[in-house]
């Protein structure tokens, strides 16, 4: 992903024009979030990462870069209709920390129920995709790798329609655009292979229904992509991802389950992932457990056993706006979170990973 591509630059200048035009009633809000974490994978057979955009991870020693990040957001309201939001995110991309524009868009409230946005946006591919980086908003140390594939931020447009009917709140959110990023694919024999991944056309639809403690969500994402391998000919691909998520939260008991089915036109990289997680709040403490698994169905994954992760952890809300989390997990080497796997490692075997993190918002 380029730090600021042309479309984003265009919106930024449009924003500057609006700002000068409406300087009188401009309302600005600054906020942010962050994670300071130490991640330790108790193995020398592979390195543990938390995103497809990372090429370095913890391998037998504490790594502070795998889960740590900081995001800063500026919201500008010009009047009751027009507003703009920019969010810069610093996190590990590749093998080092980098800052990118995660969100950068102008928004118009066209009806009381409808918002239209254009600029740089995060695709809500799965239930928590658009808040994946905001650790404070979640109970676990990181979203399950088996479902939460990394999609780079999209340069495009998004519509958000929200209304309620018969006491059920509905939200419909279509997104279209283009995205690209350097991704790192673990390819068995050839090892970790970097590839510029270009999503020429990325489109998605997210539909949510909420009532009382229940949330149900349907998601569909399609992509026309090219994986530009550095060592092989570029590979064009058509992807579709369908997902179904269910969440229950009554203030004490929190439970969530989600499944995702990924299909490719060539059937090379077909996958199916799911997780279940539950936690119970006891005052400011919340112990939780998560099970996640991923089936490799594509022809490119022959003989790769399904990936599995089981995790237990606790979240502790220490003081206002600060939470501490400790998580322990066992994950199979066949999972894509493991990179630079030592040849000969049994993919059915698991490694233990521990994460200690401090999450904050401001």
């Amino acid at each position: 992903m380029l730090p600021v591509p042309r479309t984003a630059a265009w919106w930024l200048s449009a924003l500057a024009v609006c700002t000068t035009a409406h300087a009188g009633d401009l309302d600005a809000q600054f906020s942010g979030y962050g994670t300071v974490a130490a991640t330790y994978a108790d193995t020398h057979a592979a390195a543990y990462r938390t995103s497809w955009q990372q090429s370095r991870g913890s391998r037998g020693k504490v790594d502070a870069g795998v889960d740590s990040r900081v995001g800063m957001q500026l919201d500008l309201s010009f009047d009751d209709t027009f507003s703009a939001t920019g969010q810069a995110l610093a996190q590990r991309l590749g093998d080092r920390g980098k800052v990118t524009a995660e969100w950068l868009y102008a928004q118009a409230q066209v009806t009381p129920e409808t918002v239209v946005r254009a600029g740089r946006l995060v695709l809500p591919a799965f239930m928590l995709s658009d808040v994946r980086n905001v650790g404070y908003s979640q109970h676990w140390a990181h979203t399950p790798y088996e479902v939460y594939l990394t999609f780079p931020a999209v340069d495009g447009a998004q519509l958000l329609w929200r209304d309620s009917w018969q006491g059920v709140r509905f939200s419909v959110q279509p997104t279209v655009g283009r995205a690209e990023a350097d991704m790192y694919y673990e390819r068995g024999a050839t090892g970790l292979t970097p590839a510029r991944t270009v999503f020429h056309r990325l489109y998605g639809l997210s539909v949510t229904a909420e009532k009382g403690p229940w949330t149900a969500r349907l998601g569909y994402t399609g992509a026309d992509a090219t994986i530009e391998w550095s060592t092989m000919p570029a590979e064009p691909l058509k992807y579709t991802f369908s997902s179904l998520g269910l969440q229950y939260d009554d203030g004490h008991l929190m439970a969530m389950a989600e499944m995702m089915i990924g299909k490719t036109d060539t059937a090379h990289y077909d996958i199916a992932g799911q997780y279940v997680t539950a936690g119970y709040r006891l005052g400011s403490w919340m112990p939780y457990a998560t099970l996640a698994w991923l089936d490799y169905e594509g022809t490119a994954f022959s003989r790769l056993p399904d990936a599995r992760t089981s995790a237990v952890g606790v979240r502790w809300d220490v003081v206002k706006d600060v939470a501490v989390k400790a998580q322990l997990e066992r994950a199979r080497y066949s999972g894509q979170q493991f990179i630079d796997v030592t040849p000969g490692t049994d993919p059915r075997k698991s490694a233990s990973v521990g994460t200690l993190s401090v999450e904050f918002v401001f």
């Binding site: 957001q73 404070y136 979640q138 009382g212 004490h252 206002k320």
Partner: protein
């Protein structure tokens, strides 16, 4: 035995002070706005009602923790976690905080979309009670 009487009086006072924590709270809106049911109030104060403007008390005000616990069943840290999902996806702005119930009333009286919460005893003609916290 004046000492016993003093002790009893002190005990009664302490009990009274204890129950005073659970004061009567009401949700107030602009006089031209309509009444709300509990689910609507929960949605507004958890950032799920894009049409309303929630008006908050300061974080340290006891009324704030009490209101969210009674109405949403969540403590302030949980409420903040819910709001951080809303804020960092641009779906809503964090509610503005006002120093006391008088300031909340003033903000509500000035904006037909604003929704605040105050002690029942603080209600006057400038605002309308939209929901009574049971």
């Amino acid at each position: 035995m004046p000492n016993v009487r003093t002790l009893l009086a002190a005990l009664m006072l302490a009990t009274a002070a204890g129950t005073a924590g659970a004061r009567d709270l009401v949700v107030v809106v602009h006089p031209s706005a309509t009444a709300l049911d509990k689910e609507q109030v929960v949605d507004i104060f958890l950032g799920r009602a894009p049409k309303a403007v929630p008006v908050d008390q300061t974080h340290t005000a006891p009324i704030r923790a009490e209101f969210y616990r009674e109405v949403t069943g969540r403590d302030l840290a949980q409420v903040r976690a819910v709001w951080s999902r809303v804020i960092f996806t641009g779906k809503a702005r964090a509610p503005k905080e006002y120093p006391d119930s008088a300031a909340v009333k003033k903000a509500v009286a000035e904006n037909p979309r604003a929704v605040g919460y105050i002690e029942k005893s603080a209600v006057d003609a400038t605002v309308k009670v939209a929901y009574e916290v049971p």
